[in-house]
Structures are given as C-alpha cells and as structure tokens.
Symmetry: C2
Subunit: 266 residues, 2 copies
C-alpha cells in the first residue's frame, strides 16, 4: 500500500454513500498522513487517548472493543475505507479501544485536513456527516441484532453486513473475502461464547450457506444467507447502485455450484 494512493480508499468509501465530483477527489488527493502497519489484535487507539489525527483504515479490519469488565464486547467493526474515529474531528476523547482484527494498515490523518476539505466543499462536508450518521445507524442495527435475534441469525447478519460493506468499496467481487477473524472475535462481536460461535459457524457450513477456511470466507448461497439473517441493507446508507447490484446476484458464486441457487427463471 503506497501512501500516495491512500486517499483513494477514502474516496471509494465516500463514493459509496454519495456522488463524488472530480473536484472533491482532487481535494482528497492532497491528503497528508502517516501510514502504520499493525499485527493482529493490536491496539490502534486506547481509551482515553486524545490525538489530533483520525485513523483511516486502508487494509484489514479493526473494531471498537469495550474491555471494561464486559468480557471484551466488540461494539462495531470497520472495513477498509472507514474512519473509525471520524467523530473526534471536533475534539473529544476516545472512549473505547480500537483494535485490529487480523493484520491491518492504517493511515493517521490530521483532523485539520478533514476540517479544511469540509470548508472547501459543502458536498464533502455532507458526505462526511453522512458517514457519521451511518455509523450511528449501524450501531442501532446492531442493537436490534443483539436484542432480537438468536446466535445463528446474528452471525449470518454480521457476515452479510461485512460482505456488503466490502462490496461497496470495491472489495469482495465474487462472494469471497479475506476474513482473518478469530472465532473468538466473532463471538465477541455477536455476544455469544466462543464455543457457541464455533457450533454456529459449523451449522452455516453444514447448511451449505458458506465456507470458511484459511482465513477466507466464501459465501456459497448469498440469497439463503440474506434470508436467514433477515438482512436488509438500507441502514448502511449505500447508494442504490451498490445495494441493487448485490441484491440481484442470483448466487452462482464459486467453483462447483452447478445449479444456481435462488430465483428460477424470469
């Protein structure tokens, strides 16, 4: 990952929620920052930190994790292009730990840069605000998930969400994506025990919905997974071109799926 292209990750993300003009992309291209590589389960930010930078995730996954007596509950997960601490632009202390899930690459971008581009382009300001609103929306959705669905459905929902978000920033082209999560990570995100997470994944595998090996997940039956999870992507605030494209996939993904699962004809 070259520093020079880091801005394009942010551009992809902004473009997934609103139309980005060429001028705006040009503004983004001036993004300064310091790139840093992290191993798995490393802290990017710690509760109480008070920096003058935002983290833009370039590669891999990260999460906000509450480590205060809650058994390490994962509160939200970020994919490349996300800026986990975007809301600290206007100054406020970090209240959770930002931890990598698998190896990750992050670029630290000065708050000032975001403030500047917000002043120079009302459209960018609106897009950044929208990213923050979407964060809240995803959080609300996750409350619904934890509060009203069982383990199997929660896991399925999380995987649907991640797949869709990756897709929106140009990754996960063929229902196959790297997912270096530990089963314990998954458990921490879904509020279940690691043992139960394991059994839940096995059930998903057994039902032929997905494969998950060598830190790579392959969704074998997207429609089935979506149906099981009762997943509807509106809350992600993505432009229709992204959700539509994904929803319409009948589901003829990987290597030996002879008879396409899903809608039959018309």
């Amino acid at each position: 990952m070259q520093v020079g292209f880091a801005f394009s990750k942010l551009a992809d993300r902004l473009n997934s929620v609103s139309d980005l003009s060429d001028d705006d992309v040009e503004l983004l291209a001036a993004m300064p920052g310091t790139v840093k590589h992290f191993g798995t389960h490393h802290h990017v930010l710690r509760r109480g930190d008070d920096t003058s930078h935002c983290c833009l995730l370039l590669q891999g996954y990260s999460c906000w994790r509450d480590d205060e007596g809650s058994g390490g509950q994962i509160v939200s997960i970020q994919v490349p292009g996300d800026v986990p601490d975007l809301s600290t632009i206007h100054g406020s202390r970090i209240t959770c730990n930002l931890v990598t899930l698998g190896p990750a690459v992050v670029i630290f971008v000065p708050h000032a840069f975001f403030r500047e581009i917000s002043e120079q382009s009302p459209a960018l300001l609106r897009s950044l605000l929208k990213l923050m609103l979407i964060d809240t929306s995803m959080l609300r959705n996750w409350v619904v998930n934890l509060g009203s669905r069982d383990a199997l459905t929660r896991v399925a929902h999380l995987l649907c969400e991640i797949a869709m978000r990756l897709r929106a920033v140009g990754l996960n082209k063929d229902f196959q994506m790297p997912l270096p999560f530990t089963q314990s990570d998954l458990a921490a995100a879904c509020g279940i025990s690691a043992v139960h997470a394991n059994r839940t994944i096995q059930e998903l595998r057994r039902s032929g919905l997905l494969q998950w090996q060598a830190k790579t997940i392959t969704i074998a039956d997207w429609n089935g997974l979506v149906r099981l999870a009762e997943f509807s992507p509106e809350y992600l605030g993505l432009r229709h071109q992204f959700t539509d494209e994904f929803r319409l996939e009948p589901s003829p993904p990987q290597f030996h799926a002879r008879n396409p699962v899903g809608v039959s004809s018309p």
Copy 2:
C-alpha cells in the same frame, strides 16, 4: 407545560453536559416551536418521515423502536430535555419509529433554529455536537449491555441509566421517579421476553433494590443497584458535578428521607 418555558428543558440538558453562559441561555430563550401532547404508545415520528423540525421531549419518555420484523426492539430511550432526532438538522430521513412510552409532551422546533444558534454561539454548537456524540456513546454502551450481560443486569443497568439521566436534568431528586413503562416496554428495550422481564423485576424487588408500583419506581438501594449493574456513568458524558453528586449518595433514599440527601462530611 407552557410554551414559554419549553426552552428551559433544552437548557437543562445542555447544561448537564457543558457550561452554559447567560448569553447562550438568552439565545435558547428565543426558541420557537409547536407543542403537542401524546398518549401512551403513540407515534411521534415514523420511519421515512422527512420533516424540517426536531422534537424536543418536554415531559415523559420516548424511544426509537425498530418495528421491522424484530419484534419491536427498542433501540434507545429519551428523557425530558433530549432531542431524539437532533442529528437530522443537516437533513436526512428518519430510519426508525419514535414512539412515546407513557403520556408525553413534545415541542417541534424548526431545524433553522438550531442552525442559527450554532452559528451565533460556538459554545452552543459544541454542546449540540456533544449531545450527538453522547447519543452514539449511549448506543455503544447499550450494545455492550445486550451483548455481554444477563437479563437481571441489563434491567438494572437500564434503570440506573434512566435515574442518572433524569437526575442530570433536575428530575428524580430522591431516587423516586415516574416510570410509566409497561413491562413489555422494558422487555423490548432489554431484548428479553415480557414474561422474563416480569420475573426479573420481581427479583429486583425481592432483593430490596427497588420498588415499582403505580407507574412509579423507587430505588431503595442505589449502591446495590449500581454494583449489580456494573454501572459506571462516564459514557453519559455528564459534567462531574452531576455524576459525583449521585455516586456519593450512600443509599438512604426514598419518601421519608429526613436528613438531606447528599455529601455528609469529610
């Protein structure tokens, strides 16, 4: 409730998170709006609405409720002084239903008012931003709650939070507060069944932690409840004067509290 004093509810709320200057209060006093009374379980806003007003809750409780197939999961709860849809100032569609819990009084305030006072007072802008950040923080905390605590602890935590938030806006002086929630409401908020909510409340009563009758809750043992719930109020973003005051209460609460509640002596 007179329209003329509606602004003071917002002032109380803002004052609970940051110091409010006299000038700022004066700006707030010009707040226009339309007051509306609601019965219990009535819709204030519906998913998909797109208004040019914010709701300021003056009396009673409201909640964001997801009614799409999730069995009516309650995502967050508001107390008087809260502005549930503050984040729509910059325009964005409502994605949940805003429902009253018990009778409630709401004032609809034009977006424009919030934008104006934000321009005229940087301090007010910061306070309003802080309110939004706190909303997110509460949401994160609720994810932790649902994901990592059992029914008893969840209910206890919710009650602690509500008590503290009421306190911060000048209500709930003596550990006694109106709580017109249905047990089913409580269940929907905590992600448990109504039957189990009932049993959980009974256990809280049996342990002598609280009483709950005639739509009024009396916390009999604040310290005990806090300990059970593992409640720590930092995430509410309240100024220390409010949390300190409340935390130090030894626990001699309710109706016949002869000796003034508060700090005794060093």
